[in-house]
Symmetry: D2
Subunit: 132 residues, 4 copies
């Protein structure tokens, strides 16, 4: 199952090279992850305030294939690859129409107070293992 | 008394117009305010964790006079104009050598838990009224 | 006529105070201006590449009234107040439902090569003076 | 040879988790790369304006090991690992004293007009092959 999230490129995203600044793709894919999580019924504000649990990125492996430009209508496509304990692995791509611009594998963990690993919300665990 | 703080312009700060993106001047002057506060002996981490008090910007009046560009060595010059109760007014300028690029008047307030106004740290109040 | 533009608050927008970082409101209202301009049929890429003309912000007067938080669904409301020569004045507000969070008056100018003032696109001038 | 570059954490860098937002490490290490290039005598403004050549990131592999917090005094340590044709590979770490917080391998290429690979500046090529 692919989660799709639209992103428009604004002035703030570009740099003097006339293209999207490389760090901003990590902002785009984080918006898509938050949207995906919200769509599963997980309220990150409640998670944090009631359980003291937040998502933290542990690892990013990113390829920059083609540049995005001002006013481009992009799409972030997110696929959940693996869920183990406190850990999620996602494949995330940024595309413009049929063009693949950016591709990343992102590892996210759930951590509680003091940074200790915390169990992922059940709504997320069930995505890969509907019996879980 | 003028507080001076150096800022170098990096790729992240520019936009496709080849100049510093307008919102980033607010980042520059916030860095200068944090440096000024640290220099007065105020530890914002301790303020927040021990007293639940943070600085919040209430008002900004900003003029963009000349553009800054990649690799420019800028300086932020900060002058405290007024201190009243929970409120600071600062004049902040961004210059490149003798050139004035950006000028702002910024009103900052101290707020406690729930957003209620909190008394400014004594170390800041004493800046304008050394007998206070 | 009010132009309305939706903004969702993501992790990237917040700071350790748990609220939207003050400079990020300038990013939000710039997105709204770009969307408004696009809706008038003005292509900023073409303006820049064919005529060497870009929009530059000259002045911002901003009030921060209430904080926005992670996951908030905000709306930017933009009204064109004045158009004179190369200059636009806009009133822009960020609201969350009935709550006014942020209010700004923004002066934008059109500049050509070398930073000289350039005539605003006719599609924008006609907004305030439909006979112009 | 290790290039060392200091970074202070400001409000703008943090998120509501109270730590540095993950995309901002890419900003930090880009500042360090720009400083390293400047130190080698390469003027990126001249490269771009006179030769139409810019650096572009092609690949980032990043590990987030420990969080950085507001007011932390960090250091970015950069080592050039390989130079081949238009391509640089750098190892970059963000440390706080003896603590390793972030570690990345970054591949950068030099591109000319239209995105075609361009020869790296001689001052950079000579870093790894002083006879080159």
């Amino acid at each position: 199952m692919v989660h799709t999230f639209p992103v428009r490129v604004y002035y703030e995203d570009t740099d003097m090279g006339g293209i999207v600044y490389y760090a901003n793709y990590l902002r785009y894919i984080e918006r898509a992850r938050s949207d995906w999580v919200r769509g599963l019924g997980v309220d990150q504000n409640a998670m944090r305030e009631e359980e003291g649990v937040v998502f933290v990125v542990r690892r990013v492996e990113a390829e920059y294939l083609k540049p995005a430009r001002f006013d481009d209508a992009l799409s972030v496509q997110t696929v959940l690859k693996a869920v183990t304990g406190a850990r999620l692995v996602l494949a995330q791509e940024v595309v413009r129409g049929a063009d693949l611009l950016f591709s990343a594998e992102v590892t996210v963990v759930c951590v509680g107070a003091g940074g200790a690993p915390a169990r992922l919300p059940a709504k997320i665990r069930r995505q890969l293992d509907p019996t879980g």
